[in-house]
Each structure stands twice: as C-alpha cells, then as structure tokens.
Symmetry: C2
Subunit: 353 residues, 2 copies
C-alpha cells in the first residue's frame, strides 16, 4: 500500500476500539477524503473484527457531526477536523453562562448560549485530526517570492499546523518576519477554521496560508481585509486572494436585500450550527421593523432547498460561510451581520472587523 498523504492513526484507532470493546464503529470523512473511506473501513474491520458503518452524508467541519450515525454505533470516528473549543465549552457545562463570545464574523458561533440538539451521543465521537505527512518546506520556499512585505501572518488548517514552525524557519531564513497568531477559539496556534480566522489577526500586511482549496483563503481575505497567499503543499500551487474582490460580492448581496419585505430565517439543524434562540431574536427584530419573517429549519442549505419558499431574501444563522463563496443562490442569502445592516441596526463598516 502506498504511503498516505495523511496520518490516519489506525493503530491508535484499533487499540481504542479494542479497549472500549466496541462492536459497531462509524467513520465520518470530509468530502475530499470519501474516496479512501472504503479502504480505511476494510483495514479497521480486518484488524478489529467490528462492523464499520461509513457516513454517506456531507461533512464540512467539526460542527457537522453525523448525529444519527453516532447514535447507531459505539464509537464514531470523525476524521479531518479538530474538536472545536465551543464543544469543549459546552461539555464543561457552562451552558447557562449568558456571556456571548463572537467568532470572526461577529456571529455568536462560540457563544455558550449556542447549543447542540442532543448530548447523548457526544462521548462516542472521537476526532482524528489527519496530520499531513507531506513536507511543507518546498511550497513555503516557492511562496517566498509572492510575499511583498517584510512581515507575514502564518496560518494553516489543522492538517498542517504541526509543521508551522518548519515553515517559520524557511521564511525567517529568507529574511521575512513571521507571526503565528494565537486564538482561544481554536486548538492550535496559527490554526484557522472555515468560520474562525482570529489567529490571523496579527500586525502584518499579508497572510501566508498553508492548506488546500480556496474556501479558507477566500474567507481569510474577506475577514482580515488583507492579501492572502495560499500555498498548497500537495499540489505545490500558490494562489493569491485579494480582500476587495471577496468583499465586493457581499456588498452586492446586501444591496439586493435592501428592498426585501419578507425574510426566511434559516435555522441550521446540524448540531454545531443550531442556534434557534438567535433565529427567534432576528425574527422578532424583523417583525418590529414591519417586515415579515419565517423560520426555516434545514441541514443542507442549497438553492434547491430554498427554492419553494416564497420570501424575498434569507438570513443564515447556520454556518456563516455557507452563502458566501461557493454556493450560488438566486435570492439574497445574508449573514446575521449583513441582515442587521439591511434593517438599519448596524453600519456597513461593522460587517467585518
């Protein structure tokens, strides 16, 4: 078997299965890794004799645990994401604390008032972070030429955070100043999530992101307002993300929502995205302004799932990134902050930090 680009920690997993005496084990992999799911399932099953059940549902983050599968198995192995700090807050029983914490988008993502739908499956979920086994130094060496300033904020997805110090050494040798930011909202220094970029809030003019795809760097550019250089250690590709390009799209959507008279307030039903109390508060705000507002609960927010609902615009209280970059929606789909701009409760300048 050829070397895998990620460390699946199968030895640790097999030991854990045997230790807990599990009979049924669920596996949940992010979209990009579903192609190795059958192979991993076969290895675990052969080694431990358990029945493995693969999750065939989408999986976009630690906020997106397959709850139904978790309830069906003895252990659910959730690959590719680190256990988020919100979940820790929640499990530490600070639920009644009214203090809100705000994530990068000013949404109450890390608020202790946000809660998961159910608790009884949570102890079964084991997060396997999938550390990359690929050397990041070569792509960082290539990225140096694209850095225009003297100082760069250095960030990565969880698969590469363990190698950020190696990247820092490469950059320092090239004469660059590097800052790996800290944040209490993520597990590791310099780590970014799709909805949480505060470790990129460092006093540098640009950001070097280590990871794959454009989802994270696009969000980084819009959130920080800084130029982002994205370096992919797997493809060796370097891409540039300009903040104004990212932000303009959202200004356009906000402008289109200004004439809306009726809103669909989306309640995300994925456990880590559920925030009914915020959705109810937004509904009451809309009604107080003389607008119509209706709550709509859904797991997957797609154009097809919104199509039938006869409202002028939507507000998304689920994953703050859902509507922003990739999914095309015909009607405006606003974030919570953007909705507050539309109803006159927040200025344009207050959408992002």
């Amino acid at each position: 078997m050829e070397k895998r680009p990620y460390e699946f920690e199968l030895e640790r997993i097999n030991a854990l299965i045997k230790e807990r005496g599990a009979r049924r084990v669920g596996l949940q992999l992010p979209e990009g890794l579903k192609t190795v799911a059958i192979e991993i399932a076969a290895e675990i099953s052969t080694e431990t004799g358990v029945d493995v059940i693969l999750s065939g549902s989408s999986c976009y983050g630690a906020c997106d645990v397959d709850e139904k599968l978790a309830r069906t198995v003895d252990i659910l192995l959730h690959f590719g994401h680190s256990e988020n700090t919100f979940r820790k807050h929640f499990l530490s029983k600070e639920r009644t604390c009214a203090k809100k914490e705000y994530n990068s988008f000013g949404n109450a993502f890390l608020s202790k008032k946000r809660f998961v739908l159910e608790e009884n499956y949570q102890e079964k979920v084991v997060f396997i972070e999938l550390r990359s086994t690929v050397d990041i130094k070569p792509v960082v060496e290539s990225a140096v030429a694209e850095l225009t300033g003297d100082c760069a904020g250095l960030v990565a997805t969880v698969q590469h955070v363990h190698a950020l110090n190696e990247a820092k050494i490469v950059l320092t040798r090239s004469g660059k100043k590097v800052i790996i930011g800290k944040s209490s909202n993520v597990t590791y220094d310099g780590q970014v999530l799709g909805c949480e970029f505060s470790s990129a809030l460092v006093p540098c003019d640009e950001i070097l992101f280590i990871g794959s795809g454009s989802f994270h760097p696009a969000g980084l550019a819009r959130y920080t307002g800084k130029r982002v250089i994205a370096a992919d250690p797997f493809t060796m590709q370097i891409s540039i993300f300009e903040p104004e390009t990212m932000r303009k799209k959202r200004y356009g959507v906000i402008a289109r929502a200004r004439d809306a008279k009726s809103f669909g307030i989306i309640v995300g039903m994925k456990s880590g995205q559920f925030n009914l109390s915020e959705a109810l508060a937004l509904k009451r705000k809309a009604i107080a302004k003389g607008l119509a507002a209706h709550l709509i609960a859904m797991d997957e927010i797609t154009e097809a799932s919104l199509l039938g609902f006869k409202v002028d615009a939507f507000v998304n209280t689920a994953c703050p990134r859902l509507a922003e970059d990739y999914v095309h929606f015909n009607k405006p789909v606003l974030s919570v902050n953007e909705f507050e701009v539309v109803i006159g409760e927040r200025g344009w300048e207050g959408i992002w930090p």
Copy 2:
C-alpha cells in the same frame, strides 16, 4: 384568498395547538407543496400566536418525518401523508415480534423488526392527510376511453381516496366492473403509497390510478405487472404506464451488477427507512459468497452522495423506490430482492410477485 386544492384542516390544527398549549410548531410539507408553506405558516402563527418553524428538508413520505425538527418543537404537523400502519405497529409495542411482513417489493418494509431510530419525538407528530378539494369525476369520465378491459382495479393516493366511491359510480355507469382493493398495510381501501401497492392486487387486467405525477403509476405498473392508466384530477391529464417498460430498466441494472466484486450496502437514516439489521444480514451474505461489502449510512441517496465510494455496485435497504425510476446512478443500485438475484439466492422470476 383563493380556494386551495387541498383541505389543510387549519381550524382543527389551530384548535389542537391551543388545546395542547404549544409554543413552537413545526410544519413539514411534501416537495410539491413547499410553495404554500409560508402562507400556511403565517395563517397558523396569526391565529394562535405560536412560533412556527418550517422544515426546509426534503419530505417524501410518512417514513420521512423531520426528526430533528420534531425534537425542537411541541407539535410537528406532517402534511400530505397518512400515518403508516408500520408506525402503528411500532407504537403498539409489538417490536419484539419476530414475524416479518413483506411489502409490495418483497422487502421487509412492514416488518416489526424494522424500527425507528428514536421514539421520544413520535407523540409530537400529527399527520394531516390533505384531502383534495377537486372533483375527480371529470377526469374519471375521460379515463373511461383508455380502459381496454371490462374490469379495472381502482386506486389513489391518500389525497383522493375519500372520492374513490364517486369514481366507482362513474365507471360503473360506463359499464365497467371496478374493484377497490383492501390491504392491511395502508390506512384506506384503494390507497397506494410509493412503496406499498398491495391494494392494487385485484383480479382485473388493468389499474386506474387517481393522482398526480408518474412516481406512483410507474411503481404500480412494475409491481403488479399490469397496464396502469393514470388520471390526474388537477391537470386532467391521462397517462399510460406499461409494465414491461418499467421492468426492463431493472433487468438492465441487475445484469450490470453481475460482475461486481464489492458492494456498498446503503442504510437509510430516515427514521421510517432505517433497517440496520437487514443491511448487516446482507453484508454477511455477500462476504459468505466471497464478495466485499461495506455499510454506508445516509439520509438522501443521490449520485453525488455515492460518488466517492470505491465499490462496484450498491444495495439499497432504505426506500425501495429510490433507485428505480427517477434518480440516475452511474453504478448499479439494487433493491434487496435484486441483490439476492445477483448473488444467486433468488431467481429472476422472484423479484416481483
């Protein structure tokens, strides 16, 4: 407000909400009726003062209750489907009974061993059948010309079953013999579901179906092996479904699966479609034949959700109709019976009654 084509029973609903002292009410409507969801929500909300939450997820039948929403609200109104008899069996606590009952497809749909994932939300679900307010006599009069034999089995979806006797009068006056079949698996005489056609098993050469769309009549033709005349009271359209056309498609899929060495056994995670014990049994059968088999759990079975899994073919233990008519899959997706033909445990002639 113009007259609705269905009876939404809003007076009964509003009375029920007040009687139960509900504060939050969920509404779940089938795909075709999502366009009136906002209007219905507004009416209920205005009349009772409750917070209404609409389900934005797909809804294909009484087997497809939005569980997460049910747990979030005090009452979940599930529109357009009748409470199925399986659910009644289940609630009558006959769960330990080992006797299996087979649905139209020979699958254990009504088996008492099939169970829902959770019980704690079930008392909250209220089924509203949505009886049609449209006169079915005109379309039945049109359909007479298409009936080639002297005797027709008369069936309808739950929206029209209350009018089957009127249809029978029209047909009898035209000199036709009509049989409205009975089945213990459905609520009403002559009723058909997408997965349950046994009330069409009557000694006639053809079937007259009253309802919309081609999902039910296509299944009726394949299952009964008889010519089906579909009469839509809303559009006044008459369509003919020939059994051989419907069956040939499935023979083709079975033939393509004969060389498969590895199978993905799909476990449906919608509560009324969940049957892990059957999926596990099929996995063991496959392995005993020297084939590889992997369990894959999912809510929505789509080409995209199967795409990443590296197996040669799939077996569907969820809704038996899912793979048959409408959804295009690149790899073969077999029903349980069809899989048993492929592994040599059942003859071709045993796929349908």
